[in-house]
Structure formats: structure tokens, C-alpha cells
């Protein structure tokens, strides 16, 4: 089920594509739940987002993305991502 030579391994490429997807899904889910905690009023008076919540979500998404950049650089710099 896996190429054992030195040539490029399709199963490996497949695995990497899968892991990239897994990673993006996990990143998105973490962004959703982090911004939910920061922005959403938990009294749940109704099921709509207020103007304030909507603009908080936009800024939160942007800041969250920036944090992934800083953390990525720091992990890369120290070679901690193996």
C-alpha cells in the first residue's frame, strides 16, 4: 500500500493533502469557538447577531489570523515544529 523506493510516493502526497485539510478544518473550528467566546452575548435573548457582535466577529477573525502568523513564526524559528 506504500511505495518503498526513493521515488515520490503517491500515498505520502495523499497523506499530506489530507493532513493539510485536517489542519485547516481544525484552525477554522478553533477560530469559530475562540471568537464565539470573545464576541457573543450568552444571554441568548434572540437568535440574531447584533451589530456589535458582527463587527466583533470580523475583528476577532482578523486578530486570530494574525496570532496564527506570530505563533507560526516562533515555532518555525525554534524548529519546534519538527
Amino acid at each position: 500500500m506504500s511505495a518503498s523506493g526513493g521515488q515520490p510516493d503517491p500515498a505520502l502526497a495523499m497523506e499530506m493533502a489530507k493532513q493539510e485539510m485536517d489542519y485547516r478544518v481544525a484552525l477554522f473550528n478553533a477560530m469559530v469557538s475562540s471568537c464565539y467566546e470573545k464576541c457573543i452575548d450568552k444571554r441568548y435573548k434572540d437568535g440574531d447577531l447584533s451589530v456589535g457582535e458582527n463587527s466583533c466577529i470580523d475583528r476577532c477573525s482578523s486578530k486570530y489570523w494574525q496570532v496564527t502568523g506570530i505563533v507560526g513564526q516562533m515555532l518555525g524559528a525554534q524548529g519546534a515544529m519538527q
Binding site: A17, M21, F28
Partner: protein, 86 residues
């Protein structure tokens, strides 16, 4: 990534699996969250109307929130790819 053509189909199947798995996980986490935020009293075994309404609002809010983050996520990803290519 650069996936050989003959594995594209397998990849599509993996994506489908992931989508099912992910929507089930999202469903589960939504139940957990709305239960935690809306149900405080255990003197009866049925939800009262306030709790029910709260769960519905929680669910509605979460879906709208999730959709909005999805749009932003898409924009931020495209920007990042554009910068990488430049």
C-alpha cells in the same frame, strides 16, 4: 498540494468523510455549548419553554456566527495565498 490524478477520487472520498465527521462534531459541540449555557435547573426531567427558546437562540446565533467566521476565513486565506504568490 500536488496529488497524482489517479488519487484525486480517493481524495474526494476523504473530503466527504471529513465533511460528515466534521458536521457531526459540530453538531455535538453545538449541543454541548447550548446545553451548558441554557440549562441550569434539574428539578424536572423536561426542558421548560424558557430553556427551549434559549437553546433555539443559542443554536441560531452559533450558526450565523459560524457562517460569518467562514466568510472571513475564506477572505484571509485568499489574501495569504495572494501574498505568497507575489
Amino acid at each position: 498540494g500536488n496529488v497524482p490524478a489517479e488519487q484525486q477520487q480517493q481524495l474526494m472520498q476523504e473530503i466527504e468523510k471529513m465533511q460528515v465527521r466534521d458536521s457531526l462534531r459540530m453538531y455535538n459541540s453545538l449541543v454541548e455549548r447550548c446545553f451548558r449555557d441554557c440549562v441550569e435547573s434539574f428539578r424536572r426531567k423536561d426542558l421548560d419553554s424558557t430553556e427551549e427558546k434559549c437553546v433555539q437562540s443559542c443554536c441560531g446565533k452559533f450558526m450565523k456566527h459560524s457562517a460569518r467566521v467562514g466568510i472571513r476565513f475564506g477572505e484571509l486565506s485568499s489574501e495569504a495565498e495572494t501574498q505568497m504568490a507575489a
